[in-house]
Assembly symmetry: C2
DNA sequence: TTGTACGCGTTATCAG
DNA sequence: CTGATAACGCGTACAA
């Protein structure tokens, strides 16, 4: 009993020392050869070859934790996501971003660590300090609304390389990549104005995430620019399903509102409520009124009708985030690019009905 | 220059030793208190309190890398996927499996490592020895057709804990979780038989993956069981787009075939070709003939018409795979469960037309 | 009940 | 060119 029973998980996991023994050299040499020889030390090609062969023979792979502990890097990028609900449908989750993240990570030679219990509301979610887990990776991507600001700030202040997917100005020094919701929302309203709509209402949920406020800003800016009345132009619905009713809709219509714009959220509640209200009121879009969605529709109502609005370039955002993170890792430069959203014509908006 | 410039990421992070000094105890005691005291060692409540206070005071958070290094395990589960094409659409990728994988991994306290350059066709894909990378994780999930058998065998022979998503009997000792394609395909054919179809043709691609052969087996078994003619019941189309034409279709119809079944693949080529041939021939399903798809349709033609067939329970498969892997990790027991597929009525199959 | 000593796997320095 | 040796931060037998 002189040896602790080794954890099953490690059985057969070769270390540098074993590679060294097999190659007949020291462990240091193995580290040198396998580490790319940053020190510029000259090694005998034969030695090098023997080490490489031994490593391949044994299937040696460096332990990421040890690598990291020794203040090196492990070619691992973290992904920590805070989506409100568990992704039963892939489209509602962060996977669309992951497509771009994964592709770009591959380009740069990084593998990905998905920190669970974040999106999935698993055991560790909400636990204070849960974010610290990401330190296992060289750097980390954060995404979703409601990423805990204080924990994130701690990481950033300690110099941990982090990039947030989604604009995040409040956190000094945090790099982020964002969709240009302001411009995209403004464009939607501009189109509506061009279609003759003079009064437009934005239905947003009761949520102060940047993604929401940006949309509102874009809407307001476009209204101003078009010289339209912005009075009561924004409605905050704590519970869209009960607040946005057929009656409410009729009320607004009699006030002269001809177009309704919903923000996109995790649940799509605002858009859903709007569609339901229109149907309940026996109205039709775009004949009787125009509708637009500031984002992509939830999967279950993606078609019939296809919402006028814009698409969030999720994969590009993911890729841009990885680029930002890798340059942060390599140069220490913090960049925060804004990615444009493409306008989606759709078929829920049309010319404003004659008064 | 007596000190190495510490990595930015680590600067200023309090360690257990500092907590210990502040609390006037040893580092061990700190570890004990903060580690939840698994050993059941009795500590003086005051000591405990002092340690906790000191930890909070300093904002101590354990270093995950060190923790994992000491524990001789990662709590990392790998995911290595071999899908034929890059997932431009999440639905075509391995993400639907990942939903279940992620959820179940969270339950068991594991994080996930996504090995890039596998699904994404990145730089390292196809490289010999690329699979060895997975050793970084405590265990790994493999998925997709065409996972290189020899490399996988090496890993398994070395005792590396691996679970393949998809049946894989050829590899002695490899654990896998599979969808019961045989039974699901048989059920589809049984339904067709019940609808009066006497001659059924399976269109499969030129591919000998288990997922393909299982479907064929199910089809043949059901044909036999129903006493139907299995002559020329299976067509292998190297290139469905050019092989499965309107002319071909008419030919088979005149031979008395009334139902066509396509296997599902990454590309959905067989099903796509079948739909196109029917349209080109000016025919209609299910009026003139019946169609069924052994799997889920590609996203771009998920509706209109919804294919009769079955759904692959991808999330459940992912979850089952994680369970298999964690028990393999914990007990060394290899299990290979088969998960049932749900029949999907759809609307492309109907009663066989009268002869 | 608390402290000592060592190991986990890797990197990095420095003397042969 | 190579081989000891010391961190890195934490867990844990074993001793006090």
């Amino acid at each position: 009993m002189t040896e602790h029973p080794p954890a099953k998980a490690r059985r057969g996991r070769p270390r540098q020392a074993e590679v060294a023994r097999l190659a007949g050299v020291s462990q240091t040499t193995v580290s040198l050869v396998l580490g790319g020889n940053k020190q510029g030390i000259v090694l005998h090609p034969d030695t090098r070859a023997r080490v490489l062969e031994a490593a391949k023979e044994l299937g040696y792979v460096p332990d990421p934790a040890a690598r990291r502990l020794a203040a090196a890097r492990n070619n691992l990028l973290g992904v920590f996501s805070f989506t409100a609900t568990f992704p039963t449908a892939v489209e509602h989750s962060y996977y669309p971003f992951l497509v771009g993240v994964e592709q770009e990570a591959a380009v740069h030679g990084y593998d990905l660590v998905l920190f669970t219990g974040s999106s999935s509301g698993g055991a560790q979610a909400g636990t204070s300090g849960a974010l610290e887990r990401v330190r296992l990776a060289d750097g980390c991507l954060f995404l979703g609304r409601h990423v805990p600001a204080d924990e994130l700030r701690r990481l950033v202040e300690h110099g941990y390389p982090a990039v947030h997917i989604g604009r995040r100005d409040e956190l000094e020094g945090l790099a982020w990549v964002g969709a240009d919701y302001v411009e995209a929302s403004a464009e939607v309203v501009r189109r509506l104005a061009e279609l003759g709509h003079r009064r437009v209402v934005l239905v947003r949920e009761d949520d102060d995430a940047p993604a929401s406020t940006d949309r509102e800003r874009g809407v307001r800016e476009a209204l101003d620019a078009a010289g339209l009345d912005a009075t009561d132009a924004v409605v905050r619905a704590a519970d869209p399903a009960t607040d946005i009713t057929a009656d409410w809709l009729r009320g607004r219509l009699t006030e002269g509102v001809t177009a309704f714009v919903a923000e996109e959220t995790d649940t799509g509640a605002a858009w859903r409520a709007l569609l339901a209200a229109v149907e309940d009121a026996g109205l039709d879009a775009p004949a009787d009124l125009s509708l637009a969605l500031l984002g992509s529709p939830p999967a279950d109502l993606a078609e019939r009708p296809e919402p006028t609005g814009f698409d969030i370039p999720r994969a590009e955002l993911g890729a841009a985030a990885v680029r930002a993170l890798t340059t942060l890792l390599a140069t220490g430069e913090t960049e925060s690019p804004l990615v444009a959203c493409a306008f989606r014509p759709g078929n829920t908006a049309g010319p404003a009905p004659a008064p």
